[in-house]
Symmetry: C2
Subunit: 241 residues, 2 copies
């Protein structure tokens, strides 16, 4: 409360925290804005890169937010959940896919539906996440129009006035790296690689997008990678703080 | 196909089959209408009355529809999933609840989200279920407006033109019993009781609504009950066929 006015941040919130760069940036933003974060929810849904859950746990601990890992039924039908290999070394600039092979069928609706069910156990009315414009390009369940429709469905299903908070919805990956740096997000704790074996592969779609974003920003990614990387003209991460 | 025209029934479908009277009636209707039913999905979400899943299996076998039981993360926060006792002997006519204590938080959005994910493994575009006006009274996630919003969200999330088929959406429980009888649905195979121990208790909300519906229709419910029941003026079920 401030001057008798209720600020949106005072409404209790839950954050969906995968452990990747996007959700940690959303969490850093929410902390900086003063959101009352009741819990961080992370989901095990059969992803190969379940290592991201360790990252999520470390990030939640960094911010002192209670974390819960929800064990979901595996979501089949994706390269990310074991059906086919993780694509490596693709020329992402040349792609014209409507849906990426790493799309996990209807994942975000499943995660949001569970997050709302969890929220109903307490008083949270806001669901915060790192959905962004870069992912929206070929993951339809990351787009603003999907999130708006789901917000409506959630309110009707629960009679609670849920808001889906999406601070990164207009951001590309470089913008997210800039915001993560500006917010002092614990980038070294994050996990992005789809393969899920340390060190990160550096050539799956997710690694490529991440590395490209750091290069655009002119900063070295602090994570170790399994391959030698080109960082011409980039500052070390340690000099950004 | 008929005369080159695509009928809606020719679009492959999945049915959400709980094993209760509503979903079996929806399945009987879909079979009579000639829907191409690819699978019946039943969900284990920590419900006390998991016995309904055996009923669902028997019903799917009756119709020769392949069934799959999906093991979901338990949905907490409901009398149905272990938080508090199942209400017994309530005067349902006198209730003014907005949401019943047996509401399972956001259950139908979770089930529909998983059903759509499952459908994406194959070619199904229609999700059929037994949502109805009686349940809609105090289970908001059974209402038409929720189903419409979820249909929109599903289409946006998946880029598949899903339709949520809800043949009972205007029906009360007596209307459903009438339709089940008319369609020859295997009513003796169904399970309704929230307590989940055979024979059915006869006094939980679900048993009461079911028994009341049969009495309104003037037919004896063929299920055995743990208590003596009044069937004045009702025909035996066996005489309805």
């Amino acid at each position: 409360m401030r001057g008798g006015q209720t600020r949106v941040q005072d409404e209790p919130a839950i954050i969906l925290l995968s452990g990747g760069l996007d959700s940690v940036t959303a969490l850093a933003w929410a902390q900086a804005e003063g959101y009352a974060i009741r819990a961080a929810l992370s989901f095990h849904y059969g992803q190969r890169h379940e290592r991201e859950l360790q990252a999520a746990t470390a990030i939640a601990a960094h911010y002192g937010v209670p974390q819960q890992v929800v064990e979901l039924a595996p979501i089949r039908g994706s390269r990310l959940t074991g059906d086919g290999a993780i694509p490596q070394g693709r020329d992402l600039a040349g792609l014209t896919e409507t849906i990426a092979p790493t799309y996990v069928p209807n994942r975000n609706m499943i995660l949001l539906a569970y997050a709302a069910a969890h929220a109903l156990l307490g008083d949270a009315t806001q669901l915060i996440g790192g959905w962004n414009a870069a992912d929206g390009a070929n993951y339809p369940d990351c787009r603003d129009e999907f999130l708006r429709a789901t917000e409506t469905a959630l309110r009707l299903a629960t009679l609670r006035h849920f808001t889906i908070v999406r601070p990164l919805i207009r951001d590309g990956k470089a913008a997210i790296v800039r915001r993560a740096l500006a917010l002092g997000a614990p980038i070294p704790l994050t996990w992005t690689c789809y393969v899920g074996e340390a060190p990160a592969c550096g050539s799956c779609d997710a690694c490529q997008l991440r590395l490209d974003a750091f290069r655009q920003v002119g900063v070295r990614d602090p994570l170790p990678y399994a391959v030698d990387l080109e960082w011409v003209g980039c500052r070390p991460y340690a000099e950004t703080g």
